[in-house]
Amino acid sequence: MSDTQKQPDAADRMPHSKLAARSNESAAGNGRGLDHAEGTSHPIRVAPEPQPRGAKVHGKRPIDQTEAAGRFIDAIQHETTHDARLWDLRSKRDRQMHIIPEWEQLRELASAIKEHTLTHLDTYLDQFEQTARANGIHVHWAKDAEEHNKIVHGILRDHGTKSLIKSKSMLTEECGFRQYMASVGIEVIETDLGERIQQLDDEDPSHIVVPAVHKLRTDVAEVFSRTIGTDPENSDVHYLAEAQREATRPLILNADAGMTGANFVVAETGSFVVCTNEGNADLSANVPPLHIASIGIEKLIPRLEDLAVFIRLLSRSALGSPITQYTSHFRGPRQGGEMHVVLVDNGRSARLNLNEFWTSLKCIRCGACMNTCPVYRRSGGLSYGATYSGPIGLIIDPTFNRHKYSALPFSSTLNGSCTNVCPVKINIHEQIAAWRKVMSENHEMPLMKKAAMKAAGAILAHPRLYRAAITTADAALNALPRFMIYNRLNAWGKQREVPHAPRQTFHSWYKQNRGTP
């Protein structure tokens, strides 16, 4: 901060200090100030490392997450920064957790409230429809993405809308909403800074809370220079954020309609709650006279009283901050305005019917599982080639398209950290394992891998075959990985030394030294 900016009057005119702090977090995709060098504002002078792009999508063919992850790992600045940023969020989450003695009770409670609501979802949805209508909200029902997009388009057409400002919503990503709006000639402007960066770069969000967390500020400088005319050599975060603000603010002020998602929907009061750190949802909802909220049906909670449990968990789990800067309750249209809620199913009812996977609907989209996931941190969210990435993505994406996302459940070490950080106690890693079984049983597994597993199973079920395969330790080194790990000893040895061959196996040592039992 310069001296002039410390003066109150200068700060009033141009609140650089606040803006800088905010832009810092958002451009860097980090919820708080950054502790590491990347967060400082000295422009990088050397040629910046180009941003690795996400998974290659070939129609409905299975996404190869590891291929894209490999390119992300090769972009060492990106990978190390990404890992550090998300580990930083995880560490801050831990610190918040230790401040709350009843943390584990809160998780229990949150899980119980969600399970109760999901198992009485029809009742609470009906209740919400009634209470919301009584509040003057127009309530619509959409069974899928297409219906959602058409309903919203219908509302906008009725109002002669030409431009729509919206805050971040994973549901609209699910629905391909921006692409649809482009096809009907309505301009959509994302108001969340990270999401706006992604929109300008024509790239999906890589994280459900910090959408541009995979980008370095040099990447942002490149995007902004191309789209809003900033100096391509200047990657100073203050400069970039200010330029973005100047470019977007007029669009916000002139928009015809606004759109938000919702974090929580309260059946009892007919109201919904949106949590943000940038206040952009409030701009989106309050500046234009028309407010449309797109809401997944799993966002219901019964009572306002229940909300407190989730508010205490959400931001602590997501960013390691006690609460989001804005927790906005929307109860009805303001005078002269109109408010619409579109309740969207898009596969949720079907998911509710899946015995092993229905509790994934408890998810409150905090992203804690992504922040803690060691695979996600090394891979970048775009490597998953799906709306949802990281652990929660591995268990939700296959419900949208089992074949296309058939390889994703294998992009995990099943370490279980995701399950432990989940504020609503979804058994994520167990569901990942359960999805592997589904893929195997439904022939959604590469044939060679399946054949290797079959061969391994056959050998390991027969002591004599097994012994023959590893008679001597030397043979073991050659043969064991061949049937155990599908002749991928080359893959093992690419970046690791292969294990040293001992003189003999334990089995033969025992036979020699202890005799047969």
Binding site: T66, T413, K454, G457, A501, P502, H507
Partner: protein, 247 residues
Amino acid sequence: MRVGLFIPCYVDAFHPDIGIATLELLERFGLEVEYPFDQTCCGQPMANSGCHVESAATEALFVKNFQAYDYVVAPSGSCVHHVRSKLDAIEQTDAVLKVRRSTFELVEFLHDILKVEAFPWAEFPHRIAYHNSCNALRGLGHANMSELRVEPFSKPLNLLRKVRGIEVVELARPDECCGFGGTFAVFAENISAKMGQDKVRDQARSGAEYVVSADSSCLLHQQGCAERAGVPLKYIHIAQVLNGAAA
């Protein structure tokens, strides 16, 4: 007390010394330890890949080999976790359930069943970092997990602190997965190796001379990463340290 010694295939083939240390250590407590000759594996490699049909016969063989024992003990957190929590590709008969209930990982067995107070034969005058494998930690509850708000405890460190001369150092990311992950190590080789390299760097920065763990497969992976990176860390199984390995 009749104890069946389960030596997982990785230990059998690559680290017989860990198997020997486990056997000798158990015998020091006067136990009658038997090694069933027809043992192979617990079925984990197949089941973890979703191939339960393919793991069924191996799981059945495991039960057949070990159903006669009061306890089954293995120097491997991940294999024991599979037996205890996931061995369900076969019908859950009384014999199957009994074997699953009686199978213990070595640290648990020493700590919770034998309640060992001292290892007078053991001395290990070195700085060590302990590697909690994910299966032992989050699957078997070897220690408190950093994600949960619970009182700190550690069964393996409780045991290691009874070894003369040992000094335990902390890692920056104490229970971050090292990236082995079974078949993940080869099917996602690039991610696995990067996680392994990061783990090894964390261990090297901690000032440890040795990394000690209850899981030989994690050690195999980490050692491979360390050797490739030229990091002079040494890797040793907890059974060897507790059995009095001189290093």
